[in-house]
């Protein structure tokens, strides 16, 4: 008997596709939706901007598979937060919405990265879950910390002091970015 019969079905190569990782994508969209809903609660007008962003995130992840579009989408969602902050300055809601947006931003880029480097057929559950957990944990920690500082009554936050504080933050951020 010939040992080769390459036409058998089982001999075909498996499929390999590289769309964005599913779990991260879903969580990213959910986070973006949360951000838009939160801003919508305090300033309905801003939700209009946010919905544009949502379309970008969803479309970029699931339809066009374009990382640039999805990232730009999170940017527009964030723009919605800025608009909301302009109309209704509710710190808690804004803080939460910003947190959700940045989580979405991170997960979008991670979803694409995992999709590119691995494949849709890969078992990515655990790796993705750990990444999501780490990002959310850091975000909640940071948001809690800044909210705590915010609640502490700072008696004399004069304008010159604020200027110096901002400038110092700016310089430190620049140094970090490099």
């Amino acid at each position: 008997m010939m040992s080769f019969d390459t036409q058998d079905e089982e001999f075909g190569a498996v499929e390999v596709t590289h769309s964005p990782a599913r779990f991260s994508s879903i969580v990213a969209v959910a986070a973006a939706v949360l951000a838009v809903v939160t801003t919508g609660l305090i300033a309905p007008l801003s939700a209009l901007v946010g919905v544009f962003g949502l379309v970008g995130v969803g479309g970029g992840l699931f339809v066009f598979e374009s990382e640039r579009l999805a990232i730009a989408g999170t940017g527009i969602v964030f723009l919605g937060i800025v608009v909301a902050g302009f109309f209704a300055d509710v710190p808690e809601f804004l803080l939460f919405a910003a947190l959700a947006t940045i989580v979405a931003f991170d997960l979008v880029s991670n979803a694409f990265s995992v999709g590119r480097q691995l494949s849709d057929q890969t078992d990515t559950q655990r790796g993705e879950a750990v990444h999501v957990a780490a990002t959310v944990f850091v975000g909640i920690l940071a948001a809690g910390l800044s909210y705590g500082i915010y609640l502490v009554p700072w008696g004399a936050l004069t304008i010159p002091a604020l200027t110096f504080l901002l400038l110092s933050a700016l310089f430190l951020l620049w140094s970090i970015r490099q």
Partner: protein
């Protein structure tokens, strides 16, 4: 210390100083009053922050994330399909508008040679006569096709090449249409077996895509992935070979958080400008993530222990082997983001499961990857590609971990069926019936007694009836010398589809079975290949010979499943048959394995035949019939088969989908 670090330190120092001043002013409110700062200063800072933030957004949208590009080891390296060169030429002419006249000349020449062969075969006439028929257009009733060979190119056309370049569009399109029509007509006239003609428009589109993306036409999405195969130049893994058990490939910042600073800067900036504390607060999350992205630890992947196990100890080519990969983290720290890809050799095809995993491993934890691969002859040891990131993903370390688990796949050379050997033999006793009388089993003739004839062969009946001595001759059975010759030039590495084995694989698989059969029949069997890598194993016998042959099939570079590097045929052309011809015993029969992808292979068979060897060509048919180029190569191959058969050379036109043993049986009936 380079400029960047210096600048960084200055920035940190200035930032810290400003922070201290700000804290001091908050603590002692009296301090601030002396400074000439008012609302405008805050505004300026706010604007700077916003503008910087927007700059970051721009950088993010323009910039690329730096990350390791991974291979797709599941699929075999795509081998070209027959006829790709023709399709490419047509594509270049019609779409890219490159080399119009050169390609046209080449295609015309090729088609003319083919047409001559087809017409000559049909009319059974000389080459000159065939040319005359073509020139006269008498070979077909299809006017478009007939006119392709009619008349020399007029002087005006020769001179007006530049003119035709100007009005190129119509000209090229007309040529292409005529070319297609002629190919179709040759299929009809030459009675070549192809599927019914494909819609021309669709064909054009397909060949266009084929050329653009190297696709096989019908499975766009899947073959797209083949483009990013390991071999591709844009893979960031520099080489496939790693002799070390652990080797670092790269360590880099991914820049995947680039842009998160923008959330901070824009929110804080606008919050300052509009005096909205809520926005400023929202911006702090961005600051926190910016810091998070820079707090990085290099993942300690050198602590990974990788073990690979196979469910079959000694696999044979074509076996499906289940591979189990166990990865254990013994680094002593957590590896939060591991992307593992088993770099399955190009020759293997993953048929089930996935050789990849994305996971996080705590210290001491382990994970498993399971997949099934169709293996191919050769000796392999391959690495696991490990792309590890830290928690934030800001740092990415890529390494190759090669477990000590090599795989050696040797063809079994088992006896599958009888192979017809012809009566060109040696002096050794064997299995092949000759046309010589002597000692043996089968009755051959009765002849006059000659002194010295053995007594047991005297025909006593005749002696009794006539009183004259006569001797019975039996048919002598002798061993043949058979050389299995492979066509393993670059041009033979063609396959009928991206997932299909190429012609050389088909040949070697078939030959390893035939080798066993021939050996079992008591023949002296040798192996040779014509390629730039000399391959010669002289015909011989004995179990050691068989064992050596097995290893040769598995490991000789000339028979490798991986095509040879592209060679520059133009500059230094050595006839690849030279070394074979020099060593070939004059009485050796030849089994030539070749897809007959070019005239050279057919010419080799013809020349060996004329040198007195009995040649049997076993030709796996890997041609397909979708695009015009593929159809053209199919007719060309058919013409070659006919050309060889005309000269009395046995050709086994073998469709690899069918079993070779059945084909041989059928052919045997024909040849007998």
């Amino acid at each position: 210390m380079d400029l960047e670090t210096l600048l960084n330190r200055v920035l940190i120092a200035v930032g810290a100083l400003l922070f201290v001043v700000a804290v001091a002013m908050i603590a002692a409110p009296g301090l601030g009053g002396a400074l000439p700062f008012g609302t405008p200063a805050v505004f300026v800072v706010g604007i700077i922050a916003t503008v910087t933030g927007l700059g970051v957004v721009r950088r993010r949208l323009r910039g690329e994330i730096e990350e390791t590009v991974t291979p797709n080891p599941e699929r075999p390296a795509g081998n070209p399909m027959p006829g790709e060169d023709v399709d490419r030429m047509l594509y270049e002419m019609s779409t890219l508008r490159q080399g119009v006249s050169e390609n046209r000349d080449v295609l015309e020449q090729r088609l003319e040679n083919l047409a001559v062969a087809v017409v000559r075969n049909r009319e059974d006439c000389s080459v000159e006569e065939a040319r005359r028929i073509l020139q006269a257009g008498e070979w077909t009733s299809n006017e478009q096709a007939a006119s392709f060979f009619q008349g020399e190119r007029t002087a005006a056309e020769e001179a007006g090449l530049s003119g035709s370049l100007l009005s190129g569009t119509d000209d090229v399109a007309a040529f292409e249409n005529q070319f297609r029509a002629t190919v179709e007509e040759l299929i009809r006239v030459g009675d070549v077996d192809v599927s019914q003609s494909v819609d021309v428009d669709e064909q054009t589109e397909r060949s266009f895509l084929d050329q653009l993306l190297g696709r096989s036409g019908n499975e766009d999405e899947e073959s797209d992935a083949v483009d990013t195969n390991w071999n591709e130049s844009h893979s960031s893994i520099p080489t496939f070979d790693t002799s070390e058990p652990f080797e670092d490939v790269s360590l880099q910042h991914t820049d995947r958080w680039l842009g998160v600073t923008a959330f901070a800067l824009v929110a804080v900036g606008i919050g300052t400008l509009t005096f909205k504390p809520g926005l400023m607060l929202a911006g702090t999350v961005g600051v926190a993530y910016t810091i998070y992205s820079r707090v990085s630890a290099v993942p300690r992947t050198e602590g990974l222990v990788v073990e690979r196990e196979y469910d079959i100890e000694d696999p044979e080519p074509g076996d499906l082997v289940e591979v189990t990969l166990t990865v254990r983290n013994e680094s002593g720290s957590m590896l939060p983001d591991l992307r593992l890809i088993d770099a399955v050799p190009d020759e293997f095809v993953v048929t089930d499961g996935c050789p990849r995993l994305h996971t996080a491993l705590q210290s001491g934890a382990q994970a498993q990857i399971e997949y099934t691969a169709r293996v191919e002859r050769g000796e392999y040891e391959w690495p696991l590609l490990v792309v590890a990131r830290d928690f934030s993903g800001g740092v990415e370390r890529t390494s190759l971990v090669t477990p000590d688990a090599g795989m050696r796949i040797v063809p079994p050379l088992r006896v599958t069926n009888d192979v017809p050997v012809r009566a060109q033999t040696t002096q050794y006793a064997g299995d092949v019936d000759t046309k010589q009388g002597g000692s043996g089993l089968e009755f051959y003739s009765v002849r006059e007694y000659r002194p010295g004839d053995p007594m047991n062969r005297i025909n006593w009946k005749q002696v009794a009836s006539t009183g004259e001595l006569a001797t019975i001759d039996f048919r002598q059975e002798k061993a043949a010398t058979v050389t299995i010759l492979f066509d393993t030039r670059q041009s033979a590495y063609i396959s009928a589809g991206t997932d299909e084995p190429h012609a050389v694989d088909h040949s070697v698989h078939a030959a390893s079975d035939i080798f066993g059969a021939l050996y079992d029949q008591g023949n002296l069997v040798g192996v040779a290949a014509f390629d730039t890598v000399p391959c010669w194993y002289a015909p011989g016998a004995g179990s050691e010979h068989l064992e050596n042959a097995r290893v040769l099939f598995a490991q000789h570079p000339a028979l490798s499943p991986r095509p040879p590097e592209r060679q520059d045929h133009e500059s230094q052309y050595i006839d690849p048959m030279t070394h074979v011809r020099r060593r070939l015993p004059s009485t050796s029969q030849i089994f030539l394995f070749s897809p007959l992808a070019d005239d050279y292979a057919a010419e080799v068979a013809r020349r060996l035949d004329s040198e007195g060897h009995l040649v049997t060509v076993i030709s796996p048919d890997v041609t397909v019939d979708e695009t015009v180029g593929q159809r053209l190569t199919r007719i060309e191959r058919t013409a070659r088969v006919r050309y060889l058969r005309e000269r009395g050379i046995r050709v086994l036109d073998w469709n690899p989908d069918d079993r070779l043993s059945l084909e041989i049986e059928k052919a045997q009936a024909r040849w007998a």
